[in-house]
Amino acid sequence: MSSNEMRDSIDGVQQALAERSYLADRGLATTVHLALKLGKPVLLEGEAGVGKTELAKVVADALGARLIRLQCYEGIDVAHALYDWAYARQMLYIRTLEATGDARQGEEVLDELFGPRFLERRPLLDAIACDDEIPPVLLIDEIDRADDEFEAFLLELLSDFQVTIPEIGTITAERRPVVFLTSNRTRELHEALKRRCLYTWVELPDLEREIAIVRARVPTAPERLAAQAAAFVHELRTLDLTKQPGIAETIDWTQALLALGQEELEAGVVDLTLGSVLKFHEDIGRVRDADLQQLVEQARTAADAQTPAG
């Protein structure tokens, strides 16, 4: 699948993602298609581990574009996100000029000091100033962790795709990058930022789709094992847990079971590997209290219903 077909239709998007082991439903594929067509950023919200970040990576791969990732955190600022000057190198350069007795004019030296050579590009500037043939995919991860002010700053950036560096001037993106923002909803994002984005809530998949995802991601796993692992995680999600396991956990766990040479789910091994699925001490305790053997049985039955070959 060439990147052109990916750009042309929703089917193309769905197929290109599937080829890279990302099974998107029609709704998500439509959103990606619209993002490519309308040139709008996509805001992905959803529980941890449903594949928000992964989507951006896979889309970048499918487009043959470079992925530029900005991980947000509390207190992130322009020097970390956009650009900074390489102070140490500037200082050294000045000293070198002095030592070699360079006779150039001050103005000239200054221009050089505050020119592209000493500019350290951070992800956002990188995405805008990128001169690749194919525009890059910019992933702004966990935007809800950054401060409000940073959001306001992004707002400006996402509407014009240009930045102004006082010493150099304004840099405008020649081709707009494809932008994905992800949020875990630790706080509500500003309305103004949301308005510029296509909003998508990424759901946990149903059993059938999750089995398909596990099989696509862990192709070496036996079909029964993949189905049973997915079914077991689905059983877990019905329990009252502190943190529900996401798809990422199901995949991790299947890999763990595979590494232990399991062909099928057994209560003993489940007990040993529970730590790959559940990340809270209380949750592990709760699942052990609930009858593990019975949960495994239920998962097997559910898995058999999904795989008619049995």
Binding site: I10, R26, G27, L28, T30, T31, H33, L34, K37, L38, K40, V42, L43, E45, Y73, E74, G75, I76, D77, W85, Y87, A88, Q90, M91, I94, E98, D147, N184, R185, T186, R187, E188, E191, K194, R195, C197, L198, Y199, T200, W201, T242, K243
Partner: protein
């Protein structure tokens, strides 16, 4: 009328329905939706649905409303909505209306209104009434007095806690060299860094999460507290407000805006369980599951306003307090009953929760709320863990 017009008309009407149901849909969004519809196959339901959802909706809570509206409007599914569009607002709001006890400023049928009018001259005359109000128990205040209280509370809001930010600011007594500024100053002295600039951690606001009990026993106090919260939220401070009785309600979105009366009205309509019973354990569990887990409480000061009357299971309360404690910076518990003489935390819920509480305060009048403001300010810098025993006797 051509086909394009029909789509536009239908979409605009759909936008209006969503607005009536309480979803913010501006003209910009409609425009985006139209552009999106151009790019997809209009005969495919799932594509139309996704295209409209991602352009018209901006938060998860609105998706359910969208889903119903979509079914009703585009698919004419009468089972979902009773057929008529205007009913949408009612159909979606399945929560019971709040009882009349909730504060309803501007409602002329309010029996309080007559009282207020009789008291008007008194209130107008007394500038020093502030002093008197400060010590009046909230449970004996009329509505007008409550509104005057708000003005006082606005002053209190200015002292919320801070935490060190990751960002740095220039400061003569900073701990770290500031290269950008040092270099700039060096330029003035022929490149010699004679004058060094320093920077230090900037301080930013620490988030404060309020959990207010609105059960029957707490109602008058919580009413006053909602005024305080409204003042805090509308001042744009990092404050999150929740109420709990039999269920948990997030109040923050209703409290913003410039008009305090309107926002109080919105808030009281949003709280379904004014003056009901209390199940503190359940409410805290809901809070921990829904908001605590997402990190809302991380690093924030949690203020619980409740008399600690637990009608549910006390062991659950202990469990949830422990979870809450692990996730936040500190917990302040404000108990209005603590203001009454000879009070001891005998209510089972209160006794259970106390070991997890950093600061235990009275909250029955404005003077007591001032002590809350003081505790909040102090709590910003470090964990001031006080022995509960010393606090009991201080009451």
């Amino acid at each position: 009328m051509n086909a394009g017009d029909a789509v536009v008309r239908k979409l605009v009407t759909f936008g209006r329905i969503l607005r009536e149901a309480g979803v913010e849909v501006g003209p910009g969004r409609i425009q985006d939706a139209l552009r999106a519809l151009d790019e997809i196959d209009l005969r495919r339901r799932d594509e139309v649905y996704a295209a409209l959802a991602c352009t018209l909706i901006a938060r998860r809570d609105d998706l359910e409303i969208f889903d119903r509206a979509f079914r009703a409007w585009f698919e004419k599914d009468p089972t979902r909505l009773g057929g008529k569009a205007p009913e949408l607002g009612i159909g979606i709001d399945e929560r019971p209306q709040p009882p009349a006890a909730a504060p309803r400023p501007g409602d002329s049928e309010d029996p309080d209104e007559q009282d207020d009018q009789q008291e008007e001259p008194d209130v107008l005359a007394a500038y020093s009434a502030d002093e008197r109000l400060r010590e009046r128990d909230f449970s004996t205040l009329t509505r007008t007095e409550l509104l005057r209280l708000r003005a006082l509370m606005v002053r209190l809001v200015r002292v919320l806690p801070t935490r060190p930010s990751r960002r740095l600011e220039l400061a003569p007594n900073g701990f770290q060299i500031a290269p950008r500024e040092t270099l700039r100053r060096a330029m003035r002295r022929e490149g010699e860094p004679v004058e060094r600039a320093f920077r230090r951690k900037k301080r930013v606001e620490r988030r404060v999460v309020f959990l207010c009990d609105v059960s029957g026993s707490m109602e008058p106090y919580s009413r006053a507290l909602v005024l305080f919260l409204q003042a805090a939220v509308s001042a744009g401070r990092k404050v999150e407000a929740f109420t709990f009785g039999t269920r948990l309600t997030r109040l923050t979105p209703y409290l913003g805006g410039y008009d305090p009366e309107a926002s109080l009205q919105r808030a009281s309509r949003a709280v379904p369980d004014w003056a009901g019973g209390t199940r503190i354990g359940d409410a805290f569990k809901a809070f921990n599951d829904l908001y605590g887990r997402r990190g809302l409480t991380r690093g924030s000061v949690v203020v619980i306003v409740s008399d600690g009357w637990e009608r549910g299971d006390v062991s659950q309360l202990a469990l949830e307090m422990a979870r809450l404690r692990r996730r936040c910076h500190s917990i302040i518990w404000v108990n209005p009953l603590k203001g009454t003489e000879g009070y001891e935390p005998l209510a089972a819920g209160m006794a259970t929760a106390l070991p997890y509480v950093d600061v235990f305060l009275p909250g029955h009048n404005l003077l007591a709320l001032e002590s809350l403001a003081e505790a909040l300010r102090a709590s910003g810098s470090r964990r001031a863990r006080l022995r509960p025993a010393t606090l009991w006797s201080a009451a």
